[in-house]
């Protein structure tokens, strides 16, 4: 699953719900939701990474979209945490962001996309 990079967010009638980053997503009702918008008030506030991870673990297969202070240098972390789309901050270079998604072939730990860690590849 590759993260969809969005430069301009437009309303499209999707059944979406926007969540603040202090909402407990473990107990959230996911029924009928097609998209969940998670927020980065500052790019250094990493709570939404855990929210996305937990939503995927709960089996949510809809779109998880990053909003707010979204910088291209955090896209890879977003993708790995379970985000499927991200709306970039205005000043960001989307083309360069695409490139940054391919920097690493594999990581040590499992994540929302590739659940098992590197050591599970061998064993």
């Amino acid at each position: 699953m590759t993260l969809q990079i969005i430069t301009q967010h437009t309303a499209d009638g999707t059944n979406a719900r926007a969540l603040a980053n202090d909402v407990d997503v473990q107990t959230l009702d996911l029924e009928g939701l097609e998209r969940i918008d998670l927020n980065f008030p500052k790019f250094t506030d990493g709570r939404a990474f855990s929210q996305a991870f937990v939503l995927r673990r709960r089996g949510f297969t809809g779109d998880i979209r990053a909003h707010g202070d979204v910088l291209i240098d955090q896209l890879l972390q977003m993708q790995r945490s379970g985000f499927s789309s991200a709306v970039l901050r205005d000043d960001q270079d989307a083309a360069h962001g695409e490139k940054l998604l391919g920097l690493y072939k594999r990581f040590y730990q499992g994540d929302a996309v590739h659940a098992t860690p590197l050591f599970a590849d061998a064993s």
Binding site: T44, G46, D73, S81
Partner: protein
């Protein structure tokens, strides 16, 4: 030592390339300084008082000689300010006054309490080049700063300590891999430090960490972890609380994932001084523990993907086998011991070195030797480019090419043959690393302080220098015995003043340097007792008074001690009052009632 795989090597190189891209964009004006800052920090690049500072990660303190040589090369070729910058910095420092201060130094590395190595003068535009050079020997600065899981520290004698129950290194390495570039935990509320030991004696100060781990065997002989959470220094010193008495070894990643995930969600983000996990644990207590356990259950139910397979533990453990040191035969060993005794009788200095800087090893034919980087004329833990290269040579010649950076800012040679101790002593002495003061007063911990650090409120190094100078007499140092003296230049506590038997903290009042003195702190070692923060003796002292205050405190100890009693025990027995009174009587420039 851990043998890095092709994957590890490629990974570090990819990281260096990623950093070069970020630096290039920053220098081209395409990545704003405030957006670049957290990125460079997570690669170990700070911008300090006069210049950038690089913190190189040394996973659980282990370095090979090739890595040491690259660190030496970096010190020599890159750790150099322009002459204008150095002149400006020196002239600014000279204006502070109040105490004689050593000059700023260049072209050196600095060993930190978290077993890392720092450089102070590398220009930022050279930083990507330095990262590539480091990557050539599998070194990097990944997560040595920033609000993420930091480099994991361990016992300096991991795998060789005679009091060890379980070698912690394979677990430290597995955790290093798990925490490296963890996508979910790169922007935690605050930094997150993990220390791990497998010995009875705690040489890793685990209770002072966000997570402290003790790997041990239960009554059934099974290996597991005692898990402590919520320790830390800073403004609010708190020691860790046990959250699990015994966690099966293969669950450690799954469990820490729960610990960190709940912290990521619950830790405070509104106040940097209340953002560490210690504050969360203190505020929420059992509620936090319960949530961690609930999250751990959810991790188990959803597949427990990070359960460590035996085969992986075996693979990593195999990397830590003893190096091929020639076995010392019983006969050779006895001969070597006799020779050492004879030599020791003839040479008092050598005797002291054997006593203080050399300790026993799991292998009876080997010894663990500490090279002391605490000596007159150089700051604690500093090593010049030449000294780093010499240390690499000593490692090759005497310790199977391995050294360890320890928590006390020295280097440890882990694999020294008993019949080579005398030769090593001569070589270490020639290099200036054989000062027999390990664990004694002058083996102090000190942060770089206000000479280099942008956060410092006061300088640490002139205080360290003054104390080192006053206590040069080895007879006196031996008489005073083992004392932990820890100096921090600000409340961030990089110099671990909270855990010193004697702690010195630099504070700033009206633009001047002042020093608060604490007594009775402990890192959690047997000598010091259960980990605790020291207590303040009174209002802060002027810089020029500090060395007299230390002397006054030590005089009380000499006066009050019982035969064979250490400073820490005497203090514990007689209480603070006499020490406090003596310290306050040593004021000469600050008013008594200040």
């Amino acid at each position: 030592m851990y043998q890095y795989t092709d994957f590890d090597q490629q990974f570090v190189k990819a990281r260096a390339a990623q950093y070069r891209d970020q630096l290039t964009r920053n220098l081209a004006g395409k990545l704003a300084d405030e957006d670049f800052r957290p990125l460079r920090l997570q690669n170990g690049w700070y911008v300090q008082r006069y210049a950038p500072m690089l913190r190189v990660a040394v996973p659980y303190g282990e370095l090979n000689s090739a890595q040491l040589r690259v660190l030496s090369q970096i010190a020599r070729d890159y750790d150099t300010p322009s002459s204008e910058l150095l002149a400006r910095a020196q002239s600014t420092q000279d204006k502070i006054g109040g105490i004689d201060a050593p000059k700023l130094t260049v072209n050196y590395g600095h060993f930190t309490t978290r077993q890392n190595v720092q450089f102070n003068w590398i220009p930022l535009d050279k930083s990507a080049e330095v990262m590539e050079l480091l990557a050539s020997v599998n070194l990097h600065g990944i997560q040595t700063s920033g609000n993420c899981i930091r480099n994991i520290t361990s016992d300096e004698r991991a795998g060789i300590a005679v009091d060890e129950e379980v070698d912690p290194r394979p677990y430290a390495e597995v955790l290093r891999q798990w925490s490296t570039l963890h996508p979910e935990f790169a922007y935690l509320p605050r930094k997150f430090k993990i220390a791990i030991t497998g010995s009875n004696e705690d040489r890793a100060a685990i209770a002072w960490h966000d997570v402290g781990l003790r790997v041990l065997r239960n009554d059934e002989g099974e290996v597991g972890f005692q898990v402590l959470v919520g320790g830390g220094m800073g403004r609010t010193p708190i020691t860790g609380t046990v959250i699990r008495e015994f966690l099966p070894w293969n669950q450690i990643i799954n469990y820490l994932e729960a610990v960190v995930r709940v912290y990521n969600g619950w830790g405070r983000r509104d106040n940097i001084y209340k953002a560490r996990i210690k504050i969360l644990v203190k505020a929420e207590g059992q509620r936090y523990f319960d949530e961690v356990e609930a999250e751990y259950e959810r991790i188990l139910e959803s597949g427990a993907h990070h359960t460590i397979p035996q085969v992986e533990l075996d693979r990593v453990t195999a990397c830590f086998v003893m190096p091929p040191v020639d076995v010392v035969s019983d006969e050779a060993q006895e001969k070597a011991e006799q020779a050492l005794l004879a030599q020791a009788r003839a040479d008092k200095e050598f005797t002291r070195w054997l006593q203080q800087n050399v300790t026993s090893h799991q292998n009876p034919g080997l010894r663990v030797v500490t090279l002391s980087f605490k000596r007159l004329g150089q700051a604690p833990g500093d090593a010049t480019a030449d000294q780093l290269a010499t240390a690499a040579d000593l490692a090759d010649k005497f310790s199977s090419g391995e050294v360890r950076v320890n928590h006390d800012q020295n280097l440890v040679l882990p694999w020294v043959r008993i019949d080579q101790l005398a030769d090593l002593y001569q070589a270490a002495k020639a290099a200036g690393f054989a000062r027999a003061n390990v664990h004694l007063l002058t083996d102090m911990i000190a942060c770089p302080g206000g000479d280099y650090c942008a956060l410092a409120n006061a300088r640490s190094l002139p205080i360290a220098a003054a104390i080192t100078e006053r206590y040069q007499d080895l007879d006196e140092l031996f008489d005073l015995g083992e004392i932990d003296l820890h100096i921090s230049g600000c409340i961030n506590s990089c110099g671990h003043h909270h855990s010193g038997h004697i702690g010195i903290l630099g504070v700033d009042k009206d633009g001047q340097e002042w020093y608060q003195v604490t007594l009775g702190g402990s890192d959690g070692s047997f000598l010091s007792g259960p980990a605790k923060a020291g207590k303040v003796v009174g209002p802060s002292f002027a810089a020029a008074e500090v060395v007299d205050v230390v002397e006054a405190i030590l005089d009380v100890y000499r006066d009050k001690r019982e035969s064979g009693e250490t400073f820490a025990r005497t203090l514990n027995r007689v209480g603070m009052d006499d020490f406090k009174a003596a310290a306050n009587a040593a004021r000469n420039t600050t008013a008594r009632a200040h």
